[in-house]
């Protein structure tokens, strides 16, 4: 069958390109020669495959020699390419037929000249439906001018563009693969099986995206009319855009497309998308359109001219429209607003109110945990109420401490001179630095305990009733800080007599005198455990 067609096709080659009106027949003949499906605009029975070819083939056989298969095939092809479809309706049919023919042509392949021809011009067969083969021999250059006469201008422009882009050849080849599915064996000739596989895999998912993107990409196309038109016209525009955009990396761009798919769906970055998507979309659309009716193809070709003009626009639009389409197609995983999305756990109520309540409760419990870590002594306590009690007590104690220290500082400040301030500032930095490093290490000296003397006075100043536990950690820190300084203040005892003068507060008077009266305070070790850490520290503070 194929051989017959081939022979017939070869016979058909003899139809001279000179035939002007019969260019259509030649075209059809050629296509029919390669393919099973008859393509003939002359005869009304276009759908009939077999009977179609026969008359034309017969004619060809009668008219022409069989010798110059290749040459005439080329010429026929060129004429076929150049000769416009007889009518739009025919064109549509022709396109469809041509696609199939091309697909089969590739499968045939074995035919010497044709195969070589096809190999040489992978896309020539494919492009022949649409335009001149890209790498076609010079003979085919003639047809393009002829095309202008017959084909719609769109087709001419499209052809020119197609011819301009070698990448299109590959894509067209892939397209034919899509159309016929018989190209898989021939994929090696074309870009690669991978691409085909990719395309086939991605064709279905791409189709939707591609279609939708195409639909939305070119508003002018929509204005043209039917949806099919729009779909196909964007396809053509995409093709043209890709062609014009010169995607030498089309293949490479195509290959990584699968991983890009998801990323593109997720993200709306248009980098490289206009280039990558058009080919994919083109292929997807090609695939879809190939399966679909052909009239759109012709119409698409008609619109191809317009598309050609809109290539850049289409490319740009594709980026945005693809974003839209993809965003519409792929439900954005991220919420559009800044809502915290909560998922109901298993076995829990899914009511919105309960969900919000749960979120609120979780927030509060999280903060309570932080507070528990912060406030010493809260570990033993369980329950929010008790913990809050502890926290309140702790805050109150801290505030009281601050007040006490401020009083102390004010009293100390009265004796401050400007010069001393400068010295102290340096001391502060040094002490703070040293404290930072040694606070955790420095143990309490015995001298430190010596200053724990007078407790009752301090008790009066600082109510310890509720401040027992929370102050322990703070006391340890203070002890360490003070402990470090204590050795440096051993000269302290000497100057202790001055303290009653420094501290104006009545309590401090008694405290200091009592404290310094005791060099060794046996009481302190026994008393210290009975004291709250805070009281001890406060003692130390007072005495110092």
């Amino acid at each position: 069958m194929e051989n017959d067609f081939f022979l017939n096709g070869s016979a058909l080659h003899f139809e001279p390109p000179s035939s002007s009106s019969p260019s259509l027949p030649t075209w059809h003949y050629l296509s029919s020669a390669a393919m099973d499906i008859p393509v003939s605009s002359d005869q009304p029975q276009q759908q009939q495959q077999d009977c179609f070819y026969n008359p034309s083939w017969e004619k060809s056989t009668i008219d022409h020699n069989h010798h110059h298969h290749a040459l005439q095939f080329d010429s026929a092809l060129s004429s076929m390419v150049s000769s416009p479809a007889a009518s739009n309706s025919n064109l549509s049919n022709d396109n469809f037929v041509i696609r199939e023919l091309i697909g089969k042509l590739g499968s045939i392949g074995n035919a010497g000249e044709i195969s070589s021809y096809m190999n040489g011009n992978n896309n020539s067969t494919n492009t022949s439906c649409y335009s001149t083969p890209l790498s076609s021999p010079p003979k085919l250059n003639i047809p393009p001018p002829l095309m202008k006469d017959k084909l719609p201008m769109a087709l001419n422009s499209s052809v020119a563009e197609f011819s301009a882009d070698p990448g299109f050849a590959e894509r067209a080849a892939k397209f034919s693969c899509f159309g016929s599915r018989s190209f898989n064996g021939r994929s090696s000739r074309q870009v690669g099986i991978n691409n085909n596989a990719d395309f086939t895999q991605r064709s279905s998912p791409l189709m939707e995206n591609g279609k939708l993107s195409r639909v939305s990409s070119s508003p002018s196309l929509k204005a043209l009319g039917s949806q099919m038109e729009n779909k196909n016209s964007p396809l053509n525009s995409q093709e043209e855009s890709t062609i014009s955009e010169q995607n030498p990396n089309g293949e490479s761009g195509v290959k990584p497309s699968p991983p890009d798919m998801n990323s593109r769906k997720r993200k709306t970055s248009s980098k490289g998308k206009p280039k990558e998507n058009p080919p994919k979309a083109a292929e997807a659309n090609e695939d879809s359109s190939a399966k679909r009716s052909k009239p759109n193809e012709g119409e698409g070709h008609e619109n191809g001219q317009v598309k050609g003009e809109e290539e850049s626009k289409g490319g740009n639009n594709n980026g945005g429209d693809e974003k839209q389409s993809k965003s519409s197609n792929s439900k954005p995983p991220e919420p559009p607003k800044d809502y915290i999305h909560v998922r109901a756990r298993r076995g829990q109520a899914t009511d919105s109110h309960s969900l919000a309540e749960r979120v609120r409760r979780e927030k509060i419990s999280e903060r309570m945990k932080l507070l528990q870590d912060l406030v010493p002594g809260c570990n033993k306590v369980t329950g929010k109420a008790l913990m809050l009690d502890e926290i309140i007590n702790y805050v109150q104690s801290l505030q009281r401490q601050v007040e006490f220290l401020s009083m102390k500082l004010s009293s100390v400040n009265t004796r401050l001179d400007v010069s001393i301030d400068n010295l102290i500032s340096k001391d502060i930095f040094q002490s703070n630095n040293s404290l930072a490093h040694q606070a955790a290490i420095f143990p309490l000296d015995s001298s430190a305990t010596a200053f724990f003397g007078p407790n009752p006075a301090i008790h009066n100043t600082i109510p310890n009733g509720t401040v027992n536990h929370p102050m322990e950690s703070l006391d340890s820190a203070l002890c360490q800080s003070l402990g470090f300084q204590l050795p440096s203040m051993n000269g302290f005892n000497e100057g202790a007599s001055q303290y009653p003068m420094t501290f104006c507060e009545e309590d401090l008077h008694a405290i200091v005198q009592m404290g310094f009266g005791q060099t060794e305070n046996r009481k302190t070790p026994t008393q210290s455990p009975s004291y709250n850490g805070s009281s001890q520290i406060s003692h130390m503070k007072v005495e110092l």
Partner: protein, 208 residues
């Protein structure tokens, strides 16, 4: 990575963007935990230095105005300390902003406030839980709610805030207070120590 970069420019940039966003978010989260920063020695140093300057100013002011009352000076010191603490907090928390704004308000009503605060210093310090007020109002809030409200009154600037806000402010406020106590005690010790030693024989005071 280079190959992947070349092959997937789009995805790579997206991935890097994602990573950068995540890193930025993590950093933000860490920074948001301000209560941790209060424990850093750097914070203490900053606070101490600022406090020292503020105290010097207070001294000048008090000496200039000849305010001999210890409580008044103590109050001034306390206020200065709180203000410095709020400044160190960089105004990121409500209580710090409330403290700073309160100071401004108080400045305008200084005399009135001083008298009132001096008079109410004693009883106000006790900070008894004001359950009676609530009972008068006729409300009996749950215990937790009541306590949280009370805590909100303790923390400056959080009187009418909702519960989670109060808890969050309390976390930061407690850390800040701890740092303040540490710094002030250290400062007091140093000052007292230096003055004490300076009086006799300066051993701790380094030569300028």
């Amino acid at each position: 990575m280079s190959s992947s970069l070349i092959s997937n420019p789009v995805t790579n940039t997206d991935l890097t963007k994602r990573r950068k966003k995540k890193k930025a978010q993590l950093k933000q989260q860490l920074e948001e935990q301000n209560h941790i920063k209060w424990k850093s020695p750097a914070q203490q140093q900053i606070y101490s230095s600022k406090l020292h300057q503020a105290l010097a100013r207070v001294n000048l002011r008090s000496s200039a105005s000849a305010a001999g009352d210890a409580p008044r000076r103590g109050k001034a010191v306390r206020e200065a300390a709180d203000r410095v603490l709020a400044v160190t907090a960089k105004g990121k928390t409500r209580w710090s902003r409330a403290i700073l704004t309160n100071r401004l308000k108080l400045k305008f009503r200084k005399h009135k406030r001083q008298r009132i605060t001096a008079a109410a210093a004693g009883p106000a310090r006790s900070k008894k839980p004001r359950v009676s007020v609530l009972r008068l109002k006729g409300k009996s809030l749950p215990a937790v709610q009541r306590k949280v409200r009370f805590l909100g009154r303790l923390v400056p600037g959080c009187r009418k805030q909702p519960m989670p806000v109060i808890l969050e402010e309390a976390i930061d406020y407690i850390s800040a207070l701890e740092m303040q106590v540490r710094a002030m005690s250290t400062l007091a010790d140093l000052l007292s120590g230096s003055t004490a030693s300076g009086g006799s024989s300066s051993s701790s005071a380094p030569p300028s």
